[in-house]
Symmetry: C2
Subunit: 318 residues, 2 copies
Amino acid sequence: MIAGLGGLHQFMHWDGPILTDSGGFQVFSLGHLRKLNEEGVAFKSHLDGSLHQLTPENVMQIESELGADIILPLDICAAYPCNPKDAREAMERTHRWAERALIARERFQTEQTLFGIVQGAFEAELRQQSARFTGNLPFPGLSIGGLSVGEPKAVMWEMLQHITPELPNAKPRHLLGVGSPEDFVTGVGLGMDMFDCALPTRVARHGGLFTGYGRINIKSARYRAERGPIEEGCDCYTCRNYSAAYVHHLARTEEQLYYRLGSIHNVRYMLRLAGQMRDAIIAGTYPAFRDTFLARYKPASEEVREDQRKKWKAARSR
Amino acid sequence: MIAGLGGLHQFMHWDGPILTDSGGFQVFSLGHLRKLNEEGVAFKSHLDGSLHQLTPENVMQIESELGADIILPLDICAAYPCNPKDAREAMERTHRWAERALIARERFQTEQTLFGIVQGAFEAELRQQSARFTGNLPFPGLSIGGLSVGEPKAVMWEMLQHITPELPNAKPRHLLGVGSPEDFVTGVGLGMDMFDCALPTRVARHGGLFTGYGRINIKSARYRAERGPIEEGCDCYTCRNYSAAYVHHLARTEEQLYYRLGSIHNVRYMLRLAGQMRDAIIAGTYPAFRDTFLARYKPASEEVREDQRKKWKAARSR
């Protein structure tokens, strides 16, 4: 359908970069009646109950037809926690699927960039092994999968510290499913180059807006009569044109415009932060930049994060 | 609150024209425990149960503080159907309140334009009387109230035909709460100059998009693979940039972007239609323009309209 309509760029009227994942993660998190074997994974759609199968080969075909700029192969994302035996099996199958994907994509004469995916669950040795194996395959970039799936933050950062020394320096590293401003800054400090996450727009929709001091809740009564912007000095469209009081009013009354203005603020915040990190890296001052940022930025408490997750899951199950 | 934040224009960051009604219509349609007497109307808020009173005088004060360009006085909108005695009493009180509003507004040194409101329910004689009375007061423009409140369309047009001959030609006429493309075109043919209505964006949100042939339902499966725009030749942002298939996809999956793209299409449609009507009036060809438009434009059936109303009421009562 989408290929017939000219591919994702034309369908969405978006000429910026697009990355597509294989759909494997969604099969494991949303699919019913999954059947996983060496060939691939079969599942029943959570939308209409129809049966589908994904294999390393047909995923390459689907993604070539969708036409994103960066595409990912089918992989197996182990759940947290995961016993070492299952973790190893999932990793080894992911490696075999990576090799099949590389062969399969030769059939599709597209200019798309295929990244490899590092797995290995929460085992330091497996993570190192997967980084070396995947890094040595002819992928021009590498995605770190299987993190940010419910494990404590400290475990995620520990895994990254095992992974990065094993990766080739010349290939960009993409951390799948991360994240928040604080994880963005920490992840770059641990050698990550690319991130993808719905968090900035998702938390914005629930009232959570980023500032240099942490995430605020714009629905809070303290913003009811606030004449200034969400954050003084912010150059986003929302802050340049609207008072926090107006954004507060829109959020409280659930006006459609709120979802747009809130998302614009958080997306601009992340892009500006990316620019600041790039400048600090070029200036050779990244560790100081990171430490100053993290000392000032108060992350959302576990309680707030849990509440956000519940709201998100409730909204998604409707 | 809004005055303290610089008035509606600054609060909303909107420098186009704004018209505010008195809130009287909402008191009659949404308020609980209404108490209506010569002084004004007291009611309990449907939002938080708080008690409020509106009088012709405090409505002028509130609207001067809100700071819209055109403001309306407190009036009494009779329900449909309405017996002749109640209709006359509501009209006469509306007239006395109009005179009180004119006196009260002298206290507020604003550049706002105060329109008068014609009432008289569904009695030809009362409508003529109200048009003459209100037309002779020093209002620079006139709003026609109490129509489009549930009566058959034919009754609304019949009332308008009694009203317009009695109105002064030099004052703009505003038809409150109308409407759809077909009512817009018919209303202009009966001498109306201004309209206000949430219908174009409300029906858009439910999938109803305007075309020269009538309202389509973009969620219909016929648009699933439609490569062309919603309407060929439409110059709106949505039609210039997106296929009907993409808009269909967004609507079916309830993506936020749909509500925006659908609303943009219908609002642009209405503005373009207004320009075409203006051109036809200047060229002296309005009756032919109207007849051609109405012969081509298939209005939503009563069934579809009833369905839309139900969805709207259900959404509003949430």
